[in-house]
Symmetry: C2
Subunit: 169 residues, 2 copies
């Protein structure tokens, strides 16, 4: 199974790198998509190479979407191709795992109404305004949607994300 | 099972944080030990709280030792308590996983002679001088000793470390 991480400059480094390495540990191919192909740089200076531009992503080629946090999501939510990718995953019922500011992309994609979810405390208000049911928990699983709040939640975030994939692996 | 991470300021952030979160994901309690209790700061600015001072560590309380890289090991190898911890784990045949510059601590501990291992390329020469059999591979497993070269090796590093623990979990 292939997994897709959608991010951009100023990503929260561990929120991208932990899932990136973790999914590789499971033997998955993990592609990183960004506004353009090439190097993106995290808030803490880690560099990751984006394998593919958002506009070239075929969501059908992937079985899992990861949306890390940091300042990247506030930029990505203004990218039509990022929004279209998120909508395609949700529409297809495929697993989507978003952490910290990552759910901002899902809010703009208009897919959060009636969903139970968590996020960075600073995003909680707009999540509620999007008619989602906000919970202050380390991880919230609602169907194929997994959300967490911050880097310290990464163990629970990936445990539940991988549990969701287990039946299909 | 409890795991112990031994590190100090200027640790390579992902080489500490990936194992730290990964072992928590497996449900383990993970303690961080450093020269003194309290905050240590990585090369990329991540802060981790050291739960215990090296001199207060009882190696018998732990089933796994993780030695991350960065500039921390060059400082830790001058700490008698860090060396004693490494020696106690090797003597007891317990799993020790060291990455990048982490094996420097094992070299000073005098436990590398005749062992197959890898490390950061910049440590390879002194590893060979310590009579170890150096291999340029993403991960080398020799008995209960797991070694890797760099952050990009973390998926293989933790896959093999956890495989080693499986029988006892």
């Amino acid at each position: 199974m292939r997994a897709l991480i959608v991010s951009a400059d100023h990503f929260e480094d561990t929120e991208l790198l932990y899932p990136y390495y973790r999914l590789q540990e499971e033997g998955m191919q993990v592609d990183v998509a960004s506004i353009a192909r090439g190097r993106i740089v995290g808030k803490h200076g880690y560099e990751v190479v984006a394998d593919i531009a958002l506009r070239d992503v075929d969501p059908e080629a992937y079985g899992l979407l990861i949306l890390p946090g940091g300042k990247a999501p506030s930029k990505l939510r203004r990218e039509a191709a990022a929004i279209a990718i998120a909508q395609a995953f949700v529409r297809a019922g495929k697993p989507v795992a978003a952490i910290c500011h990552g759910p901002q992309i899902l809010i703009t994609a208009g897919v959060m109404a009636g969903r139970r979810a968590t996020c960075s405390p600073s995003v909680a208000e707009e999540l509620q305004q999007a008619a989602a049911e906000y919970e202050d928990s380390e991880v919230v699983v609602d169907g194929a949607l997994v959300t967490s709040r911050r880097p310290a939640d990464l163990p629970a975030f990936m445990r539940e994300t991988l549990r969701l994939l287990k039946p299909s692996r």
